[in-house]
């Protein structure tokens, strides 16, 4: 089975490497959705595969560059200013990102920085939308993104090099060395990225993004000891150094902001017979961020650190019997965090077990049933379930549906934070430390009875439904659509609990409200022989706080807004409520590939995002029709790839050709960018 899987991988990459523009009838395989290899066409779960071709097309350096071009995925600022991806209208903290199946850590307020993840040695990216907690546990209630590194087919060495130069004095160079001999293969990749950053607002002394440089080293080693035993080892090291500049009442502060990250994972897969195999995995990863600021006199003004370690071990068994595929896994994780503004260095232990059955009935109905049990120390265990059904109506139409539950545990910050903001004057206390701290303070005025703080936070839980259809009526035309509905309960938010003797507000975390995101995703592809291909994607999204909806419908609702025409307050009705912040009703993209001649390809991509609101501007805490909105915008990239010969190519292109910027509200979109990229391969 292993060799079978590998062969499939190899065959897949073979086709990938050989095709310059179009692949035909490729049986695309996806592994993240079920933890087993499964043909994408047969999978009853909404998934997107981003191919190597698509990664290479626009000279993508970082995951950010490629993932934000996908339908319904956008990188947005979270409430606390960090940036992360939003999928099906759900926040970044609900998506797990994996490299070769191993999770990436180092979340800042729930969000992973997509610019930390290099994609130059990535063969494909699998995006599983919808609940995946039944396989991956916490942080996967909205979906999973798995980056799969390149595999090699032929024996011998392969060296891939690329050198890219882009606006803002950005340089990205990568070197990949792969070697295969029989059952042994090794792949090493080294990336260096350096940029001067950019500044959208000239009038102040600060830059929007300060200069930084980063190195990524990844290594993968595979060795088949015998026909039955395959060893696999992954390691990675990442280092980022950035200049840190801030101001404090007019005086300039200087410092650095550094990130170091490493991971090491190893797995052994044992194939007992064609019906039974087992895999043991051990993985450890550490993320450490350090930053400091000095005054102009060189005196330390502020420093900050964040150090997170995850140790995970997992045992999986694959059993196949009479067309019934099953997987059973169990394992444990241990997490440790030490950071500034924490009263302790918390640890968290988890034991989990999961199982999944995959069966086909009447040759037409595919049923996948999965369940996972997560037992965190000191917390109520959580069970996540998922049922997926796929119906093949004819050869060309497949109807898919899945229902799943998911969860996200309270993170360390929500439990152990002990933060005082001296500039604005407020204190935030994690739920597990709040009572002790409050009892130590003098003359605290209770806003919320402190007894409510004595029970631990509940996990956020979700119910997600996806119903979709995939259709491939003729060879060169396909489309799919998917209706999704995600309900997340017991959302953890900070709430005012007390005022201290100086009237300073003290906040802590509570399970407060329920949000719902629902909508429709549509994708279609049309290919014209070998000349061109056009893709279109669209997502319609409604996302709102269900408590607000309930409240606003009442006659005595407290929700008013200022009508700026008449300068009087008016009562809001249900239609005035726009929904959650930072969600666009409409998002779409058009991708056009044109194969000019044997050597030259043209690519264009246009992405659109409709208006959205970033924050409440009229004091009612919700986003309503009278609030200030950020206008919708379009971004367009064009690129040309010229294949000088089979081993050498050159790309030039322009990103954001319209030069769209919104300096005031959108810091992650820089103006027009030019790039040139050379690739040379050696065999």
């Amino acid at each position: 089975m292993i060799s079978c899987m590998l062969t499939t991988y190899f065959a897949y990459s073979q086709v990938q490497n050989d095709s310059i523009l179009f692949e035909k009838n490729i049986q695309e395989i996806i592994i993240s959705a079920t933890k087993t290899s499964k043909l994408i066409d047969e999978l009853p779960i909404p998934v997107t595969i981003i191919s190597e071709k698509e990664i290479q097309e626009f000279s993508a350096s970082k995951l950010y560059d490629v993932i934000t071009k996908q339908t319904g995925i956008v990188s947005v600022s979270t409430k606390t200013g960090t940036e992360g991806l939003q999928m099906q209208g759900l926040d970044a903290s609900y998506t797990t990102i994996l490299i070769d199946g191993f999770p990436i850590i180092g979340r800042s307020f729930g969000a992973l920085d997509l610019n930390r993840i290099s994609v130059s040695d990535i063969e494909r990216i699998e995006v599983v939308k919808g609940p995946s907690s039944s396989l991956y546990g916490s942080n996967a209630l909205g979906g999973v993104i798995n980056l799969i590194s390149k595999k090699q087919i032929d024996d011998g060495p392969i060296i891939n090099t690329s050198l890219k130069h882009a606006s803002h004095n950005t340089t990205h160079s990568s070197l990949i060395y792969k070697y295969k001999e029989g059952s042994f293969q090794i792949s090493n990749s080294l990336n260096y990225y350096n940029t001067d950053g950019y500044d959208l607002i000239d009038s102040d002394v600060l830059s929007t993004v300060n200069p930084y440089s980063s190195y990524t080293f990844r290594s993968n080693l595979k060795y088949a000891l015998s026909d039955k035993l395959l060893l696999n080892t992954n390691g990675h090291y990442y280092k980022q150094e950035q200049i840190n500049i801030a101001t404090d009442s007019g005086s300039l502060l200087n410092g650095e902001s550094n990130i170091k990250e490493w991971s090491f994972g190893t797995s052994a897969k044992y194939l007992m017979n064609s019906n039974f195999s087992q895999q043991l995995e051990i993985y450890k990863t550490n993320y450490r961020a350090d930053e400091f600021l000095n005054t102009e006199d060189g005196v330390l003004y502020e420093d900050n650190y964040f150090d997170h370690t995850l140790l995970q071990s997992e045992m999986k068994s694959y059993i196949t019997y009479k067309g019934l595929n099953s997987i059973v896994g169990f394992g444990m994780t241990k997490e440790e965090l030490s950071r500034r503004d924490f009263s302790t260095n918390p640890e968290q232990d988890l034991k989990f077990i999961y199982g999944q059955l995959d069966a086909t009935a009447f040759n037409k109905v595919n049923i996948i049933l999965g369940s996972r049990y997560d037992d965190y120390t000191n917390y109520t265990p959580v069970v996540s379930n998922k049922l997926s059904l796929g119906f093949s109506l004819k050869n060309k139409i497949q109807i898919n549906s899945s229902v799943g539950t998911g969860f996200k545990t309270a993170d360390f910050r929500q439990k152990y934070f002990d933060f005082t903001n001296s500039t604005i004057g407020y204190i935030v206390l994690g739920r597990d430390v709040a009572i002790d701290r409050l009892e130590d303070m003098q003359n605290v005025h209770e806003v919320v009875p402190f007894s409510e703080l004595s029970s631990p936070l509940k996990s956020e839980t979700s119910l997600n439904i996806n119903i979709g259809l995939r259709c491939n009526p003729i060879d060169n035309f396909s489309f799919d659509f998917n209706f999704f509905n995600n309900k997340v309960n017991d959302l953890i938010e900070w709430t005012l609990v007390a005022k201290d003797e100086n009237n300073i507000n003290i906040y802590s975390y509570f399970n407060v409200n329920q949000v719902e995101t629902k909508g429709l995703e549509f994708n279609t592809t049309y290919k014209k022989i070998d000349n061109w291909e056009i893709k279109f994607g669209y997502q319609l999204l409604y996302a709102y706080d269900t408590e607000v909806v309930k409240e606003i419908e009442k006659d005595d609702s407290d929700y008013y807004a200022l009508d700026t025409e008449t300068l009087t307050s008016i009562k809001l009705n249900k239609d005035d409520y726009f929904g959650l912040f930072n969600r666009s009703r409409h998002m779409g993209n058009i991708k056009l590939y044109y194969h000019l001649n044997k050597k030259t390809d043209l690519n264009t991509i246009l992405t659109y995002r409709s208006k959205y609101g970033l924050s409440d501007s009229n004091g009612n805490d919700i986003l309503d029709a009278y609030d200030k909105f950020i206008d919708g915008y379009s971004l367009c990239d064009v690129g040309v790839t010229h294949h000088i010969n089979p081993l050498q190519s050159c790309q030039i292109g322009i990103k954001n050709i319209f030069g769209f910027t919104n300096p005031e509200y959108i810091s992650n979109i820089t103006g027009r960018l030019y790039y040139i990229n050379f690739k040379i391969n050696f065999k």
Partner: protein
């Protein structure tokens, strides 16, 4: 400094006329039952807040509903300094506050200016030595999370926004009644703390009932 906003003058003249006529029906004796409704801009930005102990420095700007203007004398009704709002009734909490010489009181009602058409005298509170009648010392300082004040504070933009549909209902220093809606807290429609907008520029809209009854 008071500026009558000419832009809204016509509109509010109409509004006053409407109120005036509706009141005439019940009584034809008095001509000046209402002070009418005005949009007032008031600069109370002369303040500095010391976060460490929440003490503030600067001058309170005193306002009289009857006169419809800033006053320097003792017969004021409400006074502003930065985010603080005090009334001329009860006791003062700090020495830097003006003396209370009248019988003013206050509460916050939920509704629009039109909907709030009577005074619930049971809810009226006066300033006391421990702070302002509303939310102790600094009325605005509930930062919008508990939703009890007349303004909210955004952690992402660092701006204070008056809460729509929160009407300040007053008893004046001389036992008349007034209602007020604070519309803006900055002198810019697109305030930005980064470019130095500090707030304390009040734009509000008020109606004062001069006959001492509790109906507006």
């Amino acid at each position: 400094m008071i500026v009558n906003n000419t832009k809204y003058f016509a509109l509010f003249s109409l509004f006053s006329l409407f109120l005036f006529t509706s009141c005439e029906k019940s009584s034809t004796e008095e001509i000046l039952w209402w002070h009418g409704a005005d949009v007032v801009e008031l600069d109370a930005s002369d303040f500095e807040l010391n976060i460490a102990d929440t003490s503030a420095t600067g001058n309170f700007v005193k306002f009289s509903f009857l006169e419809g203007s800033i006053v320097a004398h003792d017969k004021w009704d409400v006074a502003f300094r930065g985010t603080s709002l005090i009334i001329n009734g009860g006791e003062k909490a700090h020495n830097d506050q003006p003396d209370r010489t009248g019988d003013a009181a206050i509460y916050i009602a939920t509704g629009s200016m039109v909907e709030i058409n009577s005074v619930d005298t049971n809810r009226l509170l006066q300033d006391n030595s421990s702070g302002s009648a509303i939310l102790n010392n600094i009325m605005i300082d509930d930062l919008g999370v508990s939703g009890q004040g007349w303004a909210s504070y955004s952690f992402s933009t660092h701006l204070f926004s008056p809460r729509a549909g929160r009407i300040l209902v007053f008893r004046t220093h001389d036992n008349k009644y007034a209602k007020m809606e604070i519309i803006y807290f900055y002198d810019s429609l697109n305030p930005d703390t980064g470019s130095g907008d500090i707030g304390g520029y009040y734009t509000f809209n008020y109606v004062c009932q001069l006959d001492g009854t509790t109906a507006f």
